[in-house]
Amino acid sequence: MIAALLASAARAMSGVSVRWTERPPDDAQRVYFANHSSHLDFLVVWSALPAYVRTATRPVAAADYWCRGRVRRRLAGRVFRAVLIERRAGASGTAAGRDAVERLVQAVDEGASLIVFPEGTRGDGAEVAPFKSGLYHLCVARPELELMPVHLDNLNRVLPKGEAVPVPLICRATFGAPMRLREGEDKPAFLERARAAVMELAPA
């Protein structure tokens, strides 16, 4: 119930208009990946999904932020059922990196859809930073997994980095065409293709 409340609060605050460019929303398992510029981002993506899809969708979030303090831990754990990963894990090949990918794979195997922000950190909204490799490793482990790019517009103005009170501007969430890891596609090519898919959805 707290989740539903927060979802509607986020929608009201961001006045988000949601567009599905390719197909209407459905409850197929997939990974939604989006550009990242504010703490409200995952709430907006999450609240843009129909309620029956939302219950099966878990955000992937940074453990260093969400494990700090009881309220955050509770929110992340009980309300959003976030998959928490170590951010430093971005460096692939390390033990922490393998552990992070393993957690994602495990969540996928349990049937969850995921929301990820492959930039790894919040940007200024002007451009989309290069993606971290976690998304690629997840796809190598589960190649049949479907990905869907999401572009969030204007959220950097609603709640920029370092601010606590959001300005209630009108935002836009655009859901794009599903994609998969291609056979033989290497890491840089795949990550760049995924990043381009997000940027393509930006309003002109």
Binding site: G15, D124, N154, P160, E163, P166, V167, L169, I170
Partner: protein
């Protein structure tokens, strides 16, 4: 006594209901009558607009019937939504964030609190004087000098148009007018004349419009539409004199002033949209665009009508 007990208010609301029914029936009838694709698109838009009118009329009636505080709250919400559309559209920088937070959560509620408190002295100067000083101060504290004057002016302008000017509409309810009816009728007069003027200008423009007034700002506004709309809305305003404190000639003059100010407001807001390269401020109201698209005329007409009434009655 509340607006609900006033037979004139109910009579007027019934007239509006009648107009809505006539408009909807006409819209449905037109659907079968048009042949061309362009005609069909126009009729579909008219029917969308009628849905928007039903929605807005219902909200407005509710605001009137819940008395003073209901209207204040409703107009405060309208201001909030309009300001949000305005700020979304204009350029702002990261360093404006806290000033914008204050605009939405401090200045806007404060202005309407003053309306509710009937504190005319501060109501009339809060935004033009104190906010005018606070906005640049707050932006200077943020320390970003890039396009400084432009950014302060933009926020100030948004607050003036969307909040200050619009708040004159509910302020009519507390105006000290020497008559024995409800001031809700004044608010009703203003809103009906402004909106009818918009509608009638649209209707006259669609049917007879030839020569555009300001082709670079708004190609759909024509001299024919302007003259027909203003004159017929003035006629309606005059015909409503029995529900105002004004004699017929004064009702006509005030309705005319409202129409002219409203026209200026519509054109000004259109120029801002044109500059930013958009057609509408938003998508909240079916067929009409955003909140600001619907209240653009009202923001200019409300202060003028308020002060004319305050001065003469």
């Amino acid at each position: 006594m509340t607006a609900l007990d006033d037979p004139d208010v109910l009579r007027l609301l019934l007239i509006v209901l009648g107009l809505l029914v006539v408009g909807s029936v006409a819209g449905q009838a037109l659907r079968g009558a048009v042949r061309t694709d362009a005609g069909r698109a126009t009729v579909a838009n008219i029917n969308d607009r009628m849905r928007g009118w039903w929605m807005m009329s219902a909200l407005f009636a509710l605001a009137l019937l819940t008395g003073g505080i209901g209207s204040v709250v409703m107009f405060a919400l309208v201001s909030f939504l309009a300001l949000r559309e305005f700020v979304t559209l204009v350029a702002s920088r990261r360093s404006d964030h806290r000033t914008l937070v204050a605009a939405f959560f401090l200045f806007t509620p404060a202005q309407y609190a003053l309306v509710a408190a009937h504190w005319y002295g501060l109501f009339a100067i809060l935004i033009p004087v104190y906010v005018f000083l606070l906005v640049p101060t707050s932006m200077v504290i943020a320390g970003d000098t890039e396009r400084f004057l432009e950014r302060t002016a933009t926020i100030q302008w948004g607050l003036m148009a969307c909040v200050y000017c619009l708040s004159y509409a509910p302020a009519l309810l507390f105006l000290d007018v020497d008559w024995d009816s409800e001031n809700a009728l004044l608010l009703f007069f203003l809103v009906v004349v402004v909106q009818l003027s918009d509608v009638l200008q649209y209707v006259w423009g669609k049917t007879l419009g030839r020569r555009p007034i300001a082709p670079r700002v708004s190609p759909n506004k024509t001299w024919e539409g302007f003259a027909g709309g203003v004159l017929s809305a003035t006629a309606v305003g005059t015909a409503l004199w029995w529900a105002t404190p004004f004699p017929p000639a004064a009702a006509a003059a005030l309705a005319f002033a409202i129409c002219i100010a409203g026209f200026a407001g519509g054109l000004t807001m259109a120029a801002i949209k044109r500059d930013r390269g958009v057609k509408d401020y938003g998508t909240l109201i079916p067929g009409h665009g955003g909140v600001l698209d619907r209240i653009d005329s009202l923001t200019f007409a409300a202060p003028l009508f308020f002060h004319l009434t305050r001065f003469f009655y």
